[in-house]
Amino acid sequence: MKRSDLILIVLVLCLAALPLAGGAYTLRLGTMAAMSCILALSWNVIGGFAGYPSFAAAAFFGLGAYTTGILLGYKVPLWLSLPIAAGLSFALAGLLGAVLLRLRGHYFAIASLALVEVLREIVNHATDLTGGGMGLNIPVTAGTDIMADARFFFYAMWLVLLVTTIAVIAVSSSRLGFGLSCIRQNEAASQMVGLNTTLYKSIAFGLSACFVGAAGGVYAAWVHYIDPTDVFDILYSVKPIVMALIGGLGSSLGVMIGALLYLVLEEVVWRNYIQFHSAVLGALIIALLLFLPHGLTSLRGGLLLRRLRGA
């Protein structure tokens, strides 16, 4: 295991101590942070490792949310619903990936974007199962006590994050991760040396979907009510990409730090510029990417020191 992976694990473990520090607001923020980290780390598997810019995260977030919501409605326990949501997301992404991942670059990005719209429309029209545009009420799973509820869902989301982190580290140091990095560098050459690129890409797409599906499931159980425009929100696709870009493509630790930094920025900007927070946030992101195109991971301690000494 690389040193950066170790730091990543420690970072995730430290996050688990958050309930000691604060109240319901802090826990809510922590849950959102864990969710963002799951989305960003997942996106990095297909976008960072394999080099396929996917906008499909919202599709699998919504799929996971609705799967879990519907199962909970049928009295299936949460601990069983989440793995089912994750498994379904993995299977659907793997199958669709075998087709969609024949497209490259912008074409793949557009196709993955379309996937979100298609799933949303399906959910919109399957009124009997999903409630359609009226949304879906989800039975309360945790206690009615506000603090207990907040703590329960924080740990549920954190657990999904922990599993995601372990999976992502395992992928990056495995034959699969190596194969994906070959595909990113030169897909034709990978094919020529006998790498089964379709299989590798499909697995990567499946992995990038399944934890997002589980996160969507926790989210649905947490908020008790979901509707198509809420969980198939395209921002769930876009934000992880921005986070990964801020942190630095390809590096799991970088991506996670990017996600946390993004949330801090979002929160601070939101509080101080309530009237035009989106504009300020957008300007900040553009500035960051302009001056740090390779993300935070391109800032090396040593380099910074040398620059300071030189100045």
């Binding site: 050459a189 990978s190 020529m192 040396v193 006998g194």
Partner: protein, 247 residues
């Protein structure tokens, strides 16, 4: 001739067609490539040479006809199966893993091999022996190599797949005459060591000079074939591909 005839041809194609989507490129290719030889495939731009190479390495499916290598039917085989059978493609434009070192690029050629490290190490030494320049640059990222060195690296990676037939697309494309000479010498040496070679080459003089026999392609068909030295003096070939105008 009797001796050569006794062995199954290393490639045997009968009526092979292939193409992209609705566009058919190969219109029934018949060819027999003998083992142990250097065979050249020549033809003008758009004749279908690269498409044929891609079909032979399994990157494009055979639509109809049969494709056999050393007696094994590969008409419906995947790229991996064909590679395992020893048919190795060195693609046009090199296609290296730019961020990887030269040595790692070479080792990627052995990706499918389950042989011990000793065997793969011996093959690596052999590649470095044939292309000493690659040994000097083995820790460098492949993207930083010159065009000629990249071509050496691509051929070396092909050799790491333990080929019985090495197919090289556009050997001399964008390389200086001196480098081409070095590569030609290396290919002669490889062939002497027992590797059969199928070569696509724009420079007809080099192609016919280096090879034992040759096939001429036009409009997705094989229009002529024979011993290279004879083709070199064939008036039609001279007229069409060498730009020599006969009186």
């Amino acid at each position: 001739m009797a001796k050569a005839g006794a062995r199954a041809p290393i490639l045997e194609l009968a009526g092979v067609t292939a193409g992209y989507g609705e566009i058919q490129v190969l219109w029934g290719i018949d060819m027999r490539v003998r083992a142990g030889e250097i065979t050249a495939l020549i033809g003008s731009n758009g004749a279908g040479k690269t498409t044929l190479m891609r079909t032979l390495s399994g990157l494009l499916p055979v639509r109809s006809g049969t494709y056999r290598a050393a007696g094994i039917d590969l008409s419906a085989a995947r790229a991996e199966t064909i590679l395992r059978a020893g048919i190795v493609h060195v693609p046009e434009g090199r296609r290296l893993f730019g961020a990887m070192s030269v040595e790692d690029n070479l080792l990627m050629g052995a990706y499918l091999r389950r042989g011990g490290r000793g065997e793969i190490g011996r093959d690596l030494d052999r590649v470095f022996h044939i292309f000493p320049k690659l040994y000097e640059r083995r820790t460098q990222a492949a993207a930083t190599l010159s065009g000629g060195e990249q071509q050496m690296c691509a051929i070396g990676r092909g050799l790491m797949s333990a080929p019985t037939l090495l197919m090289i697309d556009e050997l001399s494309l964008g390389l200086s005459p001196l480098l081409v000479e070095q590569l030609v010498a290396a290919l002669r040496q490889l062939n002497a060591e027992g590797v059969s070679i199928l070569l696509v080459e724009q420079d007809v003089t080099i192609a016919l000079d280096l090879s034992h026999s040759a096939f001429v392609m036009d409009m997705g068909r094989i229009v002529r074939s024979g011993v290279s030295s004879e083709l070199l003096s064939d008036p039609i070939i001279r007229d069409a591909y060498l730009g020599v105008i006969e009186d």
